[in-house]
């Protein structure tokens, strides 16, 4: 689908399945899938950010808390939503995100990141909205390519490393 085929929505308007949505000038998002989320993925995220709350890594604890199993970290769900955006716009295009979590994500959940009028929604297979993310972006074409490594999307000249924490 070309950008000319994309829809411009007003807040609250439903997005037709598979439709691209224009968020702003030259900023168009399409639907992407992530997952299914796995226990290994949750454990890897826990290790990366240092959040080992047992509700994410201990099934027995999670069941004692009334859940059917461990749940993904909310920030992991948001990260997967942002990843779907980064895939399309690159990291330099993002200025802000306001994420609201509305349902837990369990191992096995396949997530669909659906564009909305002002960002994206993360939907589970049954249609439940797990997270809503309002986005503020800049036109990716205005990002100076000379300052960005095209493979990583990071600043081309990184400050020197100064050891590890």
């Amino acid at each position: 689908m070309t950008q000319d085929d994309s829809a411009t929505l007003t807040p609250g308007e439903n997005v037709p399945p598979g439709e691209n949505v224009t968020l702003g000038e030259n900023v168009t998002l399409g639907e992407r899938t992530r997952g299914p989320v796995t226990r290994v993925q949750i454990a890897r995220y826990a290790g990366a950010v240092g959040d080992f709350n047992p509700v994410h890594v201990d099934d027995e604890f999670a069941r004692a808390s009334g859940l059917p199993s461990v749940i993904a970290h909310g920030p992991l769900t948001v990260t997967l939503a942002l990843d779907a955006v980064v895939e399309q716009l690159g990291p330099q295009a993002l200025r802000s995100a306001k994420a609201r979590l509305s349902a837990p994500v369990f191992p096995g959940d396949e997530l669909t990141v659906v564009p909305t009028a002002d960002g994206v929604e993360v939907r589970k297979a049954d249609g439940t909205v797990a997270a809503t993310v309002r986005l503020e972006t800049v036109n990716p074409e205005t990002v100076n390519p000379e300052t960005v490594n095209p493979e990583t999307g990071q600043p081309a000249t990184a400050p020197e490393a100064a050891g590890t924490r």
């Binding site: 995100a97 609201r100 999307g153 990184a158 490393a161």
Partner: protein
């Protein structure tokens, strides 16, 4: 949740944006864009300084606490290996109906003192009596 915690600094520290941590996060994301995505969200503000930062800082009752949301403001992605200064503060604690809300703010600045990222993490404690 401790309403007197408002304004308290929970963590103030210098960190190196470890390439190993970025790589670990990219593996967790598990997509081709993961490496770039990791440079936007390598830290969870509530866990900077240890997994008990938010629990102790807000006096959260984990049996009734939920993570309700997280906001990011970016000036740019983090660069692997760069040195940043982080400050995590309790931005607000307030009651609304039967629930309490706690907001943590995490600000990351670079060696020049320029803001790289600001996060706001919102917790809800349901039916709080504290």
């Amino acid at each position: 949740m401790d309403e007197s915690a408002k304004g308290r600094t929970l963590v103030e520290d210098d960190l190196t944006v470890s390439p190993d941590v970025l790589a670990a996060l990219a593996r967790a994301v598990g997509s081709p864009a993961g490496t770039a995505t990791a440079t936007l969200v390598p830290y969870f503000g509530a866990a900077v300084g240890g997994e008990s930062t938010a629990v102790d800082g807000l006096d959260l009752d984990l049996s009734r606490a939920l993570l309700a949301g997280i906001d990011y403001d970016w000036r740019r992605p983090f660069a692997p290996g760069e040195r940043v200064h982080v400050r995590v503060t309790v931005e607000d604690v307030f009651r609304k109906g039967a629930n309490q809300f706690g907001l943590l703010a995490a600000e990351f600045t670079d060696a020049a003192g320029d803001l790289v990222q600001r996060q706001t993490v919102t917790f809800i404690e349901r039916g709080s009596s504290k």
